[in-house]
């Protein structure tokens, strides 16, 4: 293999595939990045068998070929090279690669390309295309709600539910649930549970549109020159639609930024998950927290409250995550009673955040 590529492009592409390189070394070959030079493209690919990322960039290919490079080293080398063309020349007999740029020359031992797992075959059963910025926003709004606890694998993913008129994305860790709806005309209806990591990585790559295809075992994200394939999480996602209360006793509307800053400030004294209390009385909204041994915090903010007065407590982090997902000017908090789930939403439609309270004894 002999190829010539711009340092900045090569470094950027390496950064993208790096995310799929395995940290665990049960299979040493997976600590490498597969590099392929064909016609006028340099394609990089990495996988940890959960997620696979492939990306390609234009390059001058003088001799076609494939090699596997140690991921950490190649990323580090290219990142530190001067901004100029980088020349890659492999020596198949000695299993080495020479990297040359201006005055620098590196000789790197390579791994055997035949040992590297093939990039997964991608077959479409159902696909949909949406604006990347809509996708990114949806991921940002729901991803924090996915569980980090591996003991219930299903909840570590987000449910993508494709209906005729819209796409729903749902994530929950069983203490809060984020539901995002995006209008979209789709030809078929289907659903899949995608590991949150794949969504996260896909949202970090810049492009205009994203095409997602779902097959029974995998999801594929097409982002311009980059393709991400993720396995799906098997199992039945909990039925969430029935969880949303239909009638509310109290509705609180307040400026989202003001509420968020107040909650952030007060939450400084909600250490060790001690509850953050929300109190409405005669049109005022009070937020307070107290941690034994440390102290307490109180804040009152302007809000429009309708219905019964209420005192309810939430985990501060869950409330902040919900508020961060709200894009409109106002945040609306709908409550039934101190032991029923509350719903947080914005005056923009499409995002609902269900939040379980903390029971105070």
């Amino acid at each position: 293999m002999k190829a010539l590529i711009e340092q900045s492009i090569f470094a950027e592409r390496l950064q993208i595939v790096q995310k799929a390189v395995s940290n665990r070394t049960t299979l040493p070959i997976l600590s490498g990045i597969y590099v392929e030079a064909i016609s006028d493209n340099l394609t990089l690919y990495a996988t940890d068998l959960e997620i696979a990322i492939k990306t390609s960039a234009k390059a001058q290919i003088k001799k076609e070929g494939q090699i596997v490079l140690p991921a950490k080293l190649i990323t580090e080398i290219v990142k530190n090279l001067p901004e100029a063309k980088v020349e890659l020349v492999s020596n198949e007999n000695e299993n080495t690669l020479q990297i040359k740029s201006q005055q620098s020359t590196f000789n790197l031992n390579t791994l055997a390309p035949d040992d590297y797992p093939h990039f997964p075959d991608t077959e479409d059963t159902a696909s949909f295309k949406i604006l990347k910025k809509d996708f990114d926003k949806a991921v940002r709004q729901v991803i924090n709600s996915a569980s980090k606890d591996e003991s219930r694998p299903i909840l570590t993913g987000a449910l993508i539910n494709i209906e005729k008129e819209k796409i729903k994305i749902v994530a929950t860790d069983s203490y809060r649930l984020a539901l995002k709806e995006i209008s979209s005309k789709n030809s078929s209806a289907t659903q899949a549970i995608i590991p949150h990591r794949a969504l996260d990585e896909a949202s970090k790559i810049e492009c205009k549109d994203i095409k997602i295809t779902l097959s029974p075992n995998q999801a594929v994200f097409y982002l311009n020159d980059t393709t991400i394939v993720s396995r799906l999480i098997n199992g039945q996602y909990p039925n969430y639609s029935q969880l949303f209360p239909q009638k509310f006793e109290t509705t609180i509307v307040s400026n989202k930024d003001e509420l968020l800053s107040a909650v952030k400030r007060v939450s400084i004294l909600s250490l060790n998950n001690t509850p953050l209390k929300i109190n409405t009385s005669s049109g005022k909204l009070k937020i307070s927290a107290e941690t034994a041994d440390y102290g307490s915090a109180n804040e009152e903010i302007m809000a429009t409250t309708k219905g019964k007065d209420i005192e309810i407590a939430f985990n501060a982090k869950y409330l902040i995550d919900g508020l961060l997902g709200i894009d409109g000017e106002n945040a609306v908090l709908e409550l039934v009673d101190p032991l029923q789930p509350g719903i947080l939403k914005s005056d923009e439609k499409g995002f609902n955040y269900l939040l379980m309270p903390i029971r105070l004894s």
């Binding site: 203490y175 034994a292 903390i358």
Partner: protein, 434 residues
Amino acid sequence: MTNKFSSLISHPSSQRTILHLDMDSYFASIEQRDISVYKGKPLLVTHGWHPNRNLGIVMAASYEARPFGIKAGTPIFQAKKLCPKANYVKGNFEKYLHNTRKIVGISRNYSDLVEVYSIDELFLDITNSSHLFGSPVNLAKRFFDEIKDKLGLSCSIGIGPNKLVAKMAGEFNKPRGITYISADELPEAFAPLPAKDLLGVGYRMKKHLRALGIETVGQLQNLSPEYLKKRWGVMGVVLHNASLGIDNSPLIPSHQGPGPKSFGHSSALGAKGIKDLDVVKKVLLGLTEGVCRRMRSDNYLAKTITLRMGLAGLMYFSRARSLANATDITSKIYKTALDLMDGQEELARQHGVSLIAISAGNLKKASDGRQLDIFGNERLSDIDKAVDRVKNRYGEKAIIKASLLGFNKRYQGASKVEIAEVSKGHSSFCNRWV
């Protein structure tokens, strides 16, 4: 509200006088006091005693048993060989805790800065109170006599300018001794001591020191701190300071009675271990039930679950996992414990499990609120509470999990695991402060 920073009141800076109290052969002394036939005889306190049972270790040995070479930690089968005539009694932790609470109560007559260090050890900062009694030693004598008079128990007391010296001093004169080492007497007072007796020197450090030809603390004092640091890192610095009697650790007073740090139960399953994992899991379920029941009755929720397992003749390991939210729900904690066992099953099957222990830590008060769950964990919590009420009223065996039904009988012969006993055990009592 309690103030976390009040502990700084007793912080180093100026000269301090710290008293360390260590009860003499605590559990055994309490039993000898309460049951007169045991007086003056070798008595061993064990975790659940059964006449034919050789499992487990001695938790406390009376002074009469010590000449036979038995001390806390001696396996029971070995103790039986060393002293066939010894008496055995099953530990009663509620009783010991009750006594500790009384000792703590008495200690408050001598200082308001009391740190409960373990079930039978206290630290008192007597910097500002010793002059009321004339001298630190006079205070110690009064304290010693009051415990003797009111509880009929003896103790050993060490006094020093910091916690380390106080604790070391207490070891000088055991049992029934009072030792005072003032700052002026340091570091000479430590010099003749064997290096192995220095606080922080464990089995391995002892070997390392011996390899360097260091037998006494005095020899250790002569080594340069740079050398010790280079050789053992942070531990080297600790060792250097300890040899000179330097210790800046603050006394952490427990104002309204300290809370527990964790709840834990464990069961020894015999030296050969149990290879049938179903049995091990059932024992674990019994232990988990016991832990959760105690947490519920004391109104605590735990966030971190630790599983400790011994593989016969191979090793001990422990693994922990933190939950997203603190809980006292038995089924949730049991599931976490099983997850922690995952991946070790093959080894466990091969070698046999000789010890299984579960502990629930990172505690918070249930009164601080309980995070509700979307999918209705509340129901599980209600079930646990209902079961607790039945047990409180009709006894531990009135209601048990179906999977443990008949388990007791079926495995009694094979492994001598008694679930009822296991779930009442309090083997990690040290974690549970007064």
